[in-house]
């Protein structure tokens, strides 16, 4: 193993472990420096590089670099770097360390070539990331973290089961294309699906992300789900089942996002919707669609980080991200406002932003493949994105009616991080070829045809006009402090009663078992004591007559039996 063949993920993890021992300055140098070093290392690694390590009978592929892994590796490291800048203002040993390990695990998983390694990194992302939620140090965050962890580890152990079944079936541990069919492949599919927030398995995202720390949410939004997207792209590219799943994912969160009051939760719904686009791309599986998914993931990480950063900045300054309590912040936090708007435009997919150039690939993929309804729903979902991320986030946070917060602009490090991210959004929007050049497949067509620019702009503009009409007519729903039920209701509410009943029954049964056991023993003890105790027939001293009686009985019995036998 030469130096160049090291998985940059391991570098990050090692740095993360080291970080928890260092003082603040050292830690910051490490959080900033390691992603950069990792990037350099990754870029220097030749395509096709392969490092294997034989262990317990398998060949672990510690490093496998190809066209698919490369863009994900790059963007994960960039995200880690951005997050490091964004977090410079805080002095939190645990979070610094956890983010690095978390990011490192994600990078490691992307560059791992076998399923065993994937499993290890998969679980590592779960365990390291939970600290970002816990670090909020509130009851709510703790509960959310526990639920999050159960989902994540559930995904991990399901993955393990799937891997082992798959291994038994195929004899291969290679992390590569898997055909859906056997139990093992379904288990792996589902494990990926949990981490990718499939419909009905999605709720951990909305549950946990808004409870994480300001910086933690940014990191969370970048790695976990995109790792799952990568895993799908690697193993289930062209699996048609992903298309309907993806479409559902693009559409249904938008309705929830409209009425959600917590803006970070809105972003979490939006995250779900964006993942849908990626999954559709993977499900279509054509070169262009895969390119679309990968590039979309790439761009998405940047603008979603940007949006979470901006909301983080708001939270940092005002102490809340509830739409009903915010508004008018453009005056106090103008730069943040601008960066947020850039992020919003990007996610909505306006021309000249990164969202446009990447989403376009997926849509084109759907068009080429002739999936009309899919295409139509994706267009619909795009309008939905415009609604919740493009308009709702910036409008309610920074404009709308004045929430009365008179605060300072975000700290410089946050502004720098947001600035870089915003710049990247626009840079990619204007020079899409830079991103296209690192995609798995060659992109021949520029996204900027007149038609696509015009039609997308029309779509989005008229969405905004609709917003204007509704809000001027007073029809736009007010932001209300509320909790909106979701699938977590099943386990947080129904489940609580269910568990309550179950626990009651379990306690009852347990007490029954213990009590029954005790009662039986007690009864037996009493019975034995009655007969064999000092006052019992057996235990008391017999009078001489009784002894003699027994002697006679024995003689008689022996004789009778003896004679009887003789007969």
């Amino acid at each position: 193993m030469t130096a160049i063949d090291v998985n940059p993920g391991l570098l990050m993890i090692a740095a993360g472990l080291l970080a928890c021992l260092l003082p603040r300055v050292g830690r910051q140098l490490l959080t900033l420096g390691t992603p950069v070093a990792g990037l350099l290392l990754l870029i220097a690694t030749p395509m096709g590089a392969l490092t294997t390590l034989p262990i317990f009978g398998y060949d672990l592929t510690l490093l496998r670099l190809d066209g698919l892994a490369f863009p994900f590796g790059i963007i994960f490291l960039i995200a880690a770097f951005l997050n490091a800048i964004f977090a410079l203002h805080q002095d939190d040993r645990l979070q610094d360390s956890a983010v690095m390990i978390y990011g490192g695990a994600a990078v490691g998983a992307v560059l791992a070539g076998d399923l065993a390694s994937l499993f290890i990194y998969w679980e590592l992302t779960a365990v390291s990331s939970v600290f970002l939620i816990l670090a909020s140090r509130t009851e709510r965050a703790y509960s959310a973290a526990m639920r999050y962890l159960v989902w994540q580890i559930g995904s991990g152990v399901l993955l393990l089961a799937g891997i082992l079944l798959h291994y038994q079936e195929t004899g291969s541990m290679a992390f590569t294309t898997i055909t859906l069919g056997s139990v093992g492949s379904w288990a792996i599919f589902l494990a990926f699906g949990i981490k990718c927030a499939f419909p009905l398995l999605h709720n951990w995202v909305q549950d946990a992300y808004p409870e994480a720390t300001i910086t933690g949410t940014v990191a969370l939004s970048a790695f976990t789900t995109k790792l799952a997207v990568y895993a799908f792209a690697r193993s289930f590219a062209g699996e048609e089942l992903l298309i309907p799943i993806g479409v559902v994912m693009t559409c249904f969160p938008v309705f929830f996002a409209v009425i959600e009051n917590d803006l970070r939760r809105v972003l979490a719904f939006s995250l779900n919707n964006q993942l849908g686009f990626m999954l559709v791309g993977i499900g279509i599986g054509s070169e262009i669609a895969i390119n679309g998914a990968v590039s979309h993931a790439f761009a998405h990480i940047i603008y979603k980080s940007l949006l979470f950063m901006s909301m983080g900045a708001v939270l940092y300054r005002t102490g809340t991200v509830k739409a009903s309590e915010l508004g008018g912040l453009y005056k106090s936090m103008p730069l943040t406002t601008i960066f947020c708007i850039i992020g919003a435009l990007s996610i909505a997919g306006f021309p000249l932003t990164s969202g446009f150039v990447t989403k376009n690939l997926t849509l084109t993929g759907a068009e080429y493949a002739g999936y009309f309804w899919i295409w139509l729903l994706l267009i619909f979902a795009s309008a939905g994105v415009m609604e919740h991320s493009g308009i709702k986030i910036p409008f309610f946070a920074f404009f709308s009616h004045d929430g009365g917060h008179r605060v300072k602009e975000a700290p410089v490090n946050m502004l720098i991080a947001m600035g870089i991210a915003a710049g990247a959004c626009i840079f990619i929007g204007i020079f899409p070829q830079t991103l296209y050049s690192i995609l798995p497949y060659e992109v021949t067509k520029s996204p900027y045809s007149v038609q696509s620019v015009v039609t997308k702009t029309q779509l989005l503009t008229f969405s905004i006009i609709a917003f204007g009409v509704l809000i001027r007519a007073g029809l736009y729903p007010k932001e209300i402090p509320s909790t909106n039920l979701n699938t977590d209701w099943l386990y947080r509410h129904v489940g609580r009663y269910f568990v309550g009943v179950l626990a009651y029954m379990a306690r009852w049964a347990w007490a029954g078992v213990c009590g029954g056991w005790r009662a039986t023993l007690g009864a037996a003890h009493g019975l034995i004591r009655r007969h064999y105790g000092p006052d019992g027939a057996m235990g008391s001293a017999w009078p001489t007559g009784q002894m003699a009686f027994w002697a006679t009985v024995m003689i008689a019995a022996y004789s009778l039996i003896g004679f009887w036998y003789l007969l």
Binding site: N261, P334, W375, L460, I480, S482
Partner: protein
Amino acid sequence: MSDKTPKDGEPGWFERKRNIDKVWYVLLVFGAILTASEFLYEHHPHFAIEEIPVFYEIFGFLAFVFIVFAGKALRKLIMRDEDYYDRD
């Protein structure tokens, strides 16, 4: 816009009715221009539906309205108090 925090009570630029109207009209004009531009380039529709005139405009508008109203309806079904889960 300066770095100084604005004084209380002094409405910001975006809080004046006149300014908001300005923005609104600019938006409408931009929409009109976009609609007009539709007729200035060659269409390569992939699906028949794209051939409908002003399809994107209508679709965008209606989709948005639908989403908002659907969301409102959804509220009736799933909205609970903020401390719903914190109660015991």
